[in-house]
Amino acid sequence: MRDGPNTHVGSMMDVAVSPVLALRKFGCEQSLLSRPDGSSSFVQGDTSVLAGVYGPAEVKISKEIYDRATLEVMIQPKVGLSGVRERAQEHCVRQTCEAALLSTLHPRSSLSLILQIIHDDGSLLSCCLNAACMALMDAGLPMSCLFCGVTCAIEQDGHIVTDPTSQQEKESRALMTFAIDSAERRVMMSSTRGSFSVNELQQCVALSQRASEEIFQFYRDSVRRRYSKTL
C-alpha cells in the first residue's frame, strides 16, 4: 500500500477529471489531535475544516435522552462568535449525524462534535459534513452508513458547477448542498439558496450522487492509507 513520494500522514489526491463533474483537490488527515476521542481535518481546495469528537461521555441531566445518546454540534467560525447562520448549519449537521449514528447503542450519554472553520473558500457546509463524518469514523462510533456533503452551484447561464469556490458561489444563481448516504446514495440533507426549476434540482441531485461516489472512494483511500502506515 506504499505509494512513493506521498509519505506524510494525510493524503492528497485529485478527484474527478470529467468536464461536468469537477471537484477540487481533497485532503484529509485523521487523529491529528491528542485530546479528542476522534479528530479529522478536511480540506477541499482552499476550504478547510477541523473536527473533533468527544464521547460517549457523561451527559447533563437536563439533556439526557433515555434511549439514545445526545449529540451536540458546535460550529466555530474563523473570526468572531457563532451566530444564527452557524446555528442553522449546526442544526443540519446534527440531524444528519444523528441519522447516520447508531446512537441507541449508547443510551444516556453525550457526544459532542466541534467543527472549527480554518478557512472558507466556498462549499463550507459540505466540507463541514465531510470533516464530521471522518471525525466520527476516527472516534470509532458505530454508524449505520457514512455520509458525504456535496455543494452544487447553478451559474447564470444554467451551467452546474460542483464544489464551487466562494467567488463562484457569489456569482451563482442558485446554490444547493446535499448530504448523500453511502448505502443507497439517497439524499439525507438538503439546503438551498436562490430559485431553480424542478428539472435543475433533479440534475443537481444526480450530479451530487455521482460526486458522492468519488468522495466515498476518497474516504476509503485515505483511511486505507492511514491504517497501512500504523501497521
Partner: protein, 246 residues
C-alpha cells in the same frame, strides 16, 4: 390538509400585520418600517430583518431566556426564503441611493405551537407584507432632511408569492403533509419545500434525518406545487375580503 385561516389583523402601531392559523398553530406577524442608511456594499438596497420568536406561552417545550435553537433556525429559514424568493425587491426599499432606505422588521411571534411552524410563518409573512403600507418619504433638497408624508400611504410591491409545504417523513415510506407536533416528534425526518407562483422552487430544506429516494422527493415537490395553488387562492380571497373595509 388542515384548513388555513389567515386573518389580516389590526396591530395599529405596525405598518402591516397578519394573524395566521393552520390547524392549531397560530402565528402573528407584525411589520415595522424604519428609515436607515443603506448598506455600503449595496447602496441601492434596503433591509428586511425577520425574527421568529417562540415564547414559553406557545408550548411547554420552550423556556424563557435567550432564543432557542429552533427559533434561531426558523429565523434563518425565513431570512433565506426572503432572499431566495425575492418576495420584495430590495431595490424597492431604497428611497435615495446611498442615503436613505427602509428597513423592514418582520417580527413573527408564535402564539400556539402545534407543529408545522415554518409553513405558518411563511403564510403570515406573506399576508403581512401584502397588508403593509408605508408612508411616502421625500428628501428635501434644501435642508437635506427626510420628510415623511403620513397621509400618502402606499402598498409594498410584492413581486413573488412563496408558499411553503412541510412534510413529515417516516423512513422513506409514509409522508404526512402539514404535520402536527406529535407527528413531527415521531417522524424520522422533516422536509420543507418552498415554491413560487411560476412553479419554481425557492427552497428545499431538509435538515438531516432519514434518507429520501428521488421518486419520493419528486412526489413531495408535486404535492408542494398543488398546495401552493390552494394556499395562494385562500390568501387572495382573504386579502380581497379585507380591502373594501379600508
Amino acid at each position: 390538509y388542515n384548513f388555513t385561516y389567515p386573518f389580516s389583523s389590526s396591530i395599529s402601531t405596525a405598518n402591516g400585520s397578519a394573524l395566521v392559523k393552520i390547524g392549531n398553530t397560530t402565528v402573528i406577524c407584525g411589520i415595522k418600517g424604519e428609515l436607515t442608511c443603506p448598506p455600503s456594499d449595496a447602496p441601492n438596497k434596503g433591509y428586511i430583518v425577520p425574527n421568529v420568536d417562540l415564547p414559553p406561552l406557545c408550548s411547554s417545550r420552550f423556556r424563557p431566556g435567550p432564543p432557542s435553537e429552533q427559533a434561531q433556525v426558523a429565523s434563518q429559514f425565513i431570512a433565506d426564503v426572503i432572499d431566495s424568493s425575492n418576495v420584495i425587491q430590495k431595490e424597492d426599499l431604497c428611497i435615495e441611493k446611498g442615503k436613505l432606505s427602509w428597513v423592514l422588521y418582520c417580527d413573527i411571534i408564535c402564539l400556539d405551537y402545534d407543529g408545522n411552524l415554518l409553513d405558518t410563518c411563511v403564510v403570515a409573512l406573506l399576508a403581512a407584507l401584502k397588508n403593509a403600507r408605508l408612508p411616502e418619504v421625500t428628501i428635501n433638497k434644501e435642508t437635506d432632511l427626510a420628510e415623511v408624508n403620513t397621509d400618502k400611504l402606499h402598498h409594498l410591491n410584492v413581486s413573488k408569492h412563496p408558499v411553503s409545504s412541510s412534510f413529515s417523513i417516516f423512513d422513506n415510506t409514509i409522508v404526512i403533509v402539514d404535520p402536527t407536533v406529535e407527528e413531527e416528534t415521531l417522524s424520522t425526518a422533516m422536509m420543507t419545500v418552498v415554491t413560487d407562483e411560476d412553479d419554481r422552487l425557492c427552497m428545499l430544506h431538509k435538515p438531516g434525518g432519514s434518507a429520501l429516494s428521488g421518486e419520493k422527493l419528486q412526489d413531495c415537490i408535486s404535492r408542494a406545487v398543488t398546495r401552493h395553488r390552494e394556499v395562494s387562492k385562500l390568501i387572495e380571497k382573504v386579502m380581497d375580503s379585507f380591502e373594501p373595509d379600508k
